[in-house]
């Protein structure tokens, strides 16, 4: 199934073996991405944030980026969710593909796992669309109660 199998010398290997170097690299990547999430979040929400104080200087990826783009405050706020979710998804993919071996797993296991996310999003999307539509009826009732 892979070249590691040959190295191990076991003929009918049950599953792929992940090299230690890959595992540690993935771990480090996850840590870096976690710090990046902080960086993005703080760059958006905290004006006084300059970057992570490391080696006597402030290191930040997103702050100079946002500064360069000079986006209006509202736009920047609305970017918070997509950026955080995008980074989280990259992290999740790393975990799924390497820690969970899905990259080397059967196509079927890949299929069902991504299929289930399709249902997950379907669920969220339909419910969200509907509740957004009738939110007005709820808020108008809440307003009428407040004035009473």
């Amino acid at each position: 199934m892979s070249d590691h199998a040959a190295a191990h010398g076991h003929s009918d290997e049950l599953a792929h073996e992940m090299p230690v170097s890959t595992l540690i690299s993935v771990f480090l990547a996850l840590v870096v991405l976690t710090l990046l999430t902080f960086d993005a979040s703080y760059s958006i929400s905290r004006p006084e944030y300059l970057g992570a104080p490391i080696f006597g200087t402030h290191i930040s990826i997103f702050r100079p980026l946002f500064a360069a783009l000079a986006l209006p405050a509202e736009t920047m706020r609305s970017l918070g969710v997509p950026i955080a979710m995008a980074i989280a998804t990259v992290k999740a993919m790393l975990v799924i593909l390497f820690f969970m071996h899905l990259r080397h797993d059967k196509a079927l296991n890949n299929l069902i796992f991504f299929f289930c996310f399709a249902f997950f999003f379907l669920f969220i999307a339909f419910v969200l669309i509907d509740t957004l539509q009738y939110q007005g009826d709820i808020s108008s009732f809440a307003d009428s109660q407040a004035t009473k």
């Binding site: 009738y134 009826d137 709820i138 108008s140 009732f141 809440a142 009428s144």
Partner: protein, 356 residues
């Protein structure tokens, strides 16, 4: 077939009325005819397919019945046919398109509220409906108690009646005080759940007078089945009479104290005046213990709190300002004699209650 169906009117068409009891009840609202036409379209499609399938099934059962356990079948009988299978995938797919389309257009009709309609408030609670006219000026309600369920007249007599004028667009703004209910008027083919924490709306227009059933169709507990009401479609004159009757305070509250309490709560008095002796923030003096006492004013004068004083304070609030209070109340909120009678009785009654 369809034009005949669209024109069919279940109130007058005896053939439709006779047909196998499959009749929905009378149709009254603008969309009821559309709903029924769609209903019948689906109905006849279903009958056609059902009869065809059952006829084929019966024929095969008789024609191909097994005569001996060892009997073998014709080996050349087909085990699939792309043509047939395509046919019975495509034909039903085509047939459901008009069903969806007519259902969709009538539904949008039902759910889009007309402009300038007459508004009635509907409140559902366990287990009765309350109808509110003129923004709460008139309230109609009632409960079923110990009726004879075999006698429809006695049921109707005890039910709260929602009166509406004929040939007028009516919008119901509905809310529930506790759990889910659902407001269902079969003659209008319309129904809407009544949800706590939000408003839901329903509209209709009755094109003839009469009296019709209203049901709660969302299970709401013990006496769900008794959460009924009557819809009374009146002529405009009758409706006006009804409206005057339900908004007439003397009829609604023969007891002046009750009338006063109602006015206190509904005409804004309670926003500034308390009933427990404590002053309200940015408000006026409390009503408790005030009756019959000597009250002093900002200009140094004083007067006894009696009928005339109260009347004057309501009609012209700026005339006498109580010591320690500002010129807050601006407009007289009551105008009719029976209203003054009520609020005076209410304030006087507070003292008597306090004494006890």
């Amino acid at each position: 077939m369809l034009p005949i169906l669209l024109a069919s009117d279940s109130n007058t068409d005896p053939w439709l009325n006779w047909f196998w009891y499959q009749m929905p009840p009378q149709q009254l609202s603008p969309f009821a005819k559309g709903v029924d036409a769609t209903y019948y379209f689906i109905y006849y499609v279903c009958v056609f397919f059902f009869v065809a399938i059952m006829a084929a099934m019966t024929y095969f059962c008789i024609r191909y019945r097994r005569k001996h356990p060892g009997e073998m079948v014709d080996k050349n009988a087909p085990t699939h046919s792309s043509f047939l299978e395509a046919a019975w995938s495509i034909i039903p797919s085509i047939l459901v398109v008009p069903m969806f389309y007519w259902g969709f257009t009538d539904f949008m009709d039902m759910r889009s509220m007309p402009d300038g309609a007459y508004n009635i408030g509907v409140t559902g609670q366990k287990w009765n409906w309350t109808f509110s006219y003129g923004n709460g000026k008139g309230i109609v309600g009632g409960k079923l108690e110990n009726v004879d369920w075999h006698d429809k007249k006695s049921i109707i007599r005890d039910l709260p009646a929602m009166h509406v004028p004929v040939n007028t667009d009516i919008v119901l703004t509905m809310n529930s005080k506790d759990v889910l209910h659902s407001f269902y008027i079969p003659v209008f083919r319309t129904k809407q759940d009544v949800v706590p924490g939000r408003y839901t709306k329903l509209w209709f227009r009755a094109d003839r007078t009469g009296q019709y059933d209203i049901f709660c169709t969302e299970y709401c507990g013990d006496k769900h089945s008794e959460m009924l009401a009557q819809l009374v479609v009146d002529t405009q004159e009758d409706f006006d009479k009804f409206y005057n009757r339900v908004t007439n305070l003397v009829i609604l509250f023969p007891d002046p104290v009750k009338r006063g309490e109602y006015l206190f709560n509904t005409r804004g008095c309670s926003q500034c005046h308390s009933l427990d002796g404590s002053p309200k923030a940015n408000g006026g003096p409390s009503f408790l213990g005030a009756w019959g006492t000597e009250v002093s004013f900002e200009d140094g004068t004083s007067a006894k709190m009696d009928e005339n004083y109260i009347r004057e304070s309501v009609v012209n609030p700026q005339a006498k300002i109580r010591k320690g209070f500002g010129k807050i109340m601006s407009v007289g909120l009551l105008s009719k004699d029976e209203e003054f009678e009520g609020i005076i009785a209410f304030i006087r009654d507070l003292n008597e209650k306090a004494k006890k």
